[in-house]
């Protein structure tokens, strides 16, 4: 089943074409990697898909309905969650509370219920806590649940963002450079978590520079270069694609 369909997506910033006429689609249950040199437009693509800003041209279809032009929170409610390349942890909360925000759309207490926490409100609160603890367990952060989120080391904070994102039970999860800054053990854990999520039916789209990781876990890859789609295919096809090799060698392999 087609989960996501991107058609002729374009976004320019002033004169810069950050994303230029990019089209591809994602089937349910796949792990898709988006690769490309620095500044290729990968993060911009994620921002367009999650409604941070609208595209200049083009459309995005999710589960057969158009989501172009929807706001970020509306898109999240449809089942797309994400993490950020530059961490966006809630530093003013504990680790657990960060994940609890991820349950926002799965719970419904309003202002009145918040002011007067009657029994159903308390029950919902307990459900939120239990669910969030489950997600923390998935990424191995149970013991740190009550710590301030910003007391975690960088690698753990990245895992916390994943826990928070999956707390809203998304169908599509976007990970922006999840392995950057992780050591090899942490990377291993990350890969296990990604497989775990895929097995639970979550479709995963990730941006990653670490080629070894990417080639190992991705079912398919989309290669961007200067905002354009350079190639698309299986890891084998991409590794043997002349254009891709040239683009990367042109950079002397730096930064990738």
């Amino acid at each position: 089943m087609r989960l996501l369909e991107i058609n002729n997506l374009t976004r320019s910033f002033g004169g810069v074409l950050a994303v230029n006429d990019v089209s591809f689609s994602v089937d349910k249950g796949q792990i898709i990697a988006i690769i490309g040199p620095n500044g290729a437009g990968k993060t911009t693509l994620f921002n367009l898909m999650t409604g941070i800003y609208p595209p200049t041209h083009g459309t995005i279809m999710f589960k057969g309905t158009e989501i172009t032009g929807l706001t970020a929170y509306q898109i999240a409610r449809l089942g797309i969650a994400r993490t950020f390349q530059n961490l966006q942890i809630f530093n003013n909360m504990t680790v657990l509370e960060n994940v609890m925000v991820g349950r926002h759309i799965k719970s419904k207490t309003g202002f009145l219920g918040a002011i007067f926490p009657v029994w159903p409100v308390q029950r919902e609160e307990r459900e939120i806590v239990e669910h969030s603890l489950d997600k923390l367990a998935m990424v191995g952060l149970t013991d740190q649940a009550m710590q301030p989120a910003n007391s975690l080391p960088y690698g753990r904070q990245k895992m916390l963002e994943i826990a928070r994102a999956i707390a809203l039970e998304p169908e599509l999860l976007l990970l922006d450079e999840p392995a950057a800054g992780l050591n090899s053990t942490e990377t291993r854990e990350l890969i296990d978590t990604i497989y775990n999520l895929r097995d639970q039916g979550v479709t995963i789209l990730l941006v990653e520079h670490d080629m070894e990781t990417v080639m190992e876990i991705a079912d398919r890859l989309v290669v961007l270069n200067f905002g354009n789609k350079l190639a698309e295919g299986t890891p084998y096809e991409i590794q043997n694609n002349q254009e891709v090799i040239t683009a990367y060698l042109g950079e002397e392999g730096s930064g990738c």
């Binding site: 999240a76 719970s107 918040a114 007067f116 926490p117 609160e125 649940a145």
Partner: protein, 337 residues
């Protein structure tokens, strides 16, 4: 989760303890002047608790809260003195009306962020203040309402002394604190704090940040309005002067001094700033006889700068941090010796 329950119990215990303290305190204060200061502290605490929800938790700012305080006071004053409406109904009407005004005015204002938002709320406050000054028919203009505002009463109990009013005001202030505490530790409170933590991440988790900013702005305006009504029925006379920019700044200073994201912040901030300004009121005229009221703004400015430099988290969390640093240093010293 045990740890969560433990923390919740501790919070409830502290609130209970503080409640007892508050209701016992007036029996040991015989001086009427001190009682009246405590009443004013209670009224201001109610405003600042609301302001802290807006500033400390949602991370937004308002330099116009004295206007909402004034809207409550004027609604109560006008409805009871000119139209003879029941004071309690008038308080309710003021709270609802102010909440609605804040919500509607908030729609354009909260498209802005940071400095621009501060300026827009400041502008809103000034506009409302101008209405108090110019709508002479309704408000009596600069000289204030001409007819007296009645005292509040429940059955036969008339709240016409500082002692009696103290209990009324602090019941409201404690309710304000308890309800705010409920909000903070709820789904809504987390949504508000997430806006402060990272607006972009909050939205990506499905939080309608725009809606929550408006709602918390309206809630904080309702808090201010109720406090304003209590002020009107306490002083029984109102004029525009206590509802201007100076008071708005004073509220923000109180909030910042106490610490924005702690339920005890408002009480500490309001008490600290009030004691200081009351103290200055008696000292300054003796030291500098020709000084006008303007020195207050200088003092507020100074307090703000000093707090921002030395205790950016405010008194409550700041003192805790200083204590921990001191203990840490002491432990280190003990280890090395």
């Amino acid at each position: 989760m045990k740890e969560l329950t433990r923390r919740k119990r501790l919070r409830h215990f502290l609130i209970a303890l503080f409640t007892v303290f508050i209701f016992v305190l007036p029996f040991f204060v015989s001086n009427n002047y001190y009682l009246s200061v405590l009443v004013v502290i209670g009224i201001h605490t109610t405003v600042v608790v609301g302001l802290c929800l807006l500033m400390g938790y949602a991370g937004q700012i308002s330099l116009g809260h004295a206007a909402f305080y004034g809207l409550g006071a004027y609604t109560s004053g006008i409805l009871t003195s000119t139209y003879n409406i029941s004071p309690w109904l008038a308080i309710l009407a003021g709270a609802m009306g102010t909440g609605i005004v804040a919500y509607i005015m908030g729609i354009p204002i909260f498209r802005l962020k940071e400095h621009y938002l501060a300026l827009a709320t400041l502008g809103l406050g000034l506009i409302i203040h101008v209405v108090f000054m110019e709508e002479v028919e309704l408000t009596g203009g600069p000289s204030g309402l001409s007819k007296g505002i009645p005292y509040l009463a429940i059955g036969n109990i008339v709240f016409n002394t500082d002692f009696k009013y103290y209990f009324l005001v602090w019941t409201v202030a404690l309710l304000a604190i308890i309800l705010a505490n409920n909000v903070v530790h709820s789904r809504i409170g987390r949504a508000l704090r997430s806006i402060h933590g990272s607006e972009i991440a909050a939205q990506s988790l499905g939080v309608d940040t725009g809606k929550f900013k408006l709602q918390v702005f309206a809630l904080s305006a309702v808090y201010a309005s109720i406090a304003g009504s209590l002020y009107a029925h306490y002083i029984t006379f109102i004029s525009p002067s206590p509802f201007g920019l100076m008071t708005s700044i004073q509220f923000v200073v109180m909030a910042v001094v106490g610490g924005l994201s702690n339920i005890w912040g408002p009480i500490l901030g309001v008490t600290g700033v009030t004691v200081l300004t009351e103290g200055l009121k008696s000292i300054v005229p003796q030291l500098i006889p020709q000084a006008g009221g303007e020195y207050e703004i200088v003092v507020f400015g100074l307090i703000l700068v000093i707090i921002m430099i030395f205790l950016p988290e405010g008194l409550t969390s700041g003192v805790v941090r200083l204590y921990e640093e001191w203990r840490y240093r002491k432990e280190r010293a003990d280890e090395t010796s």
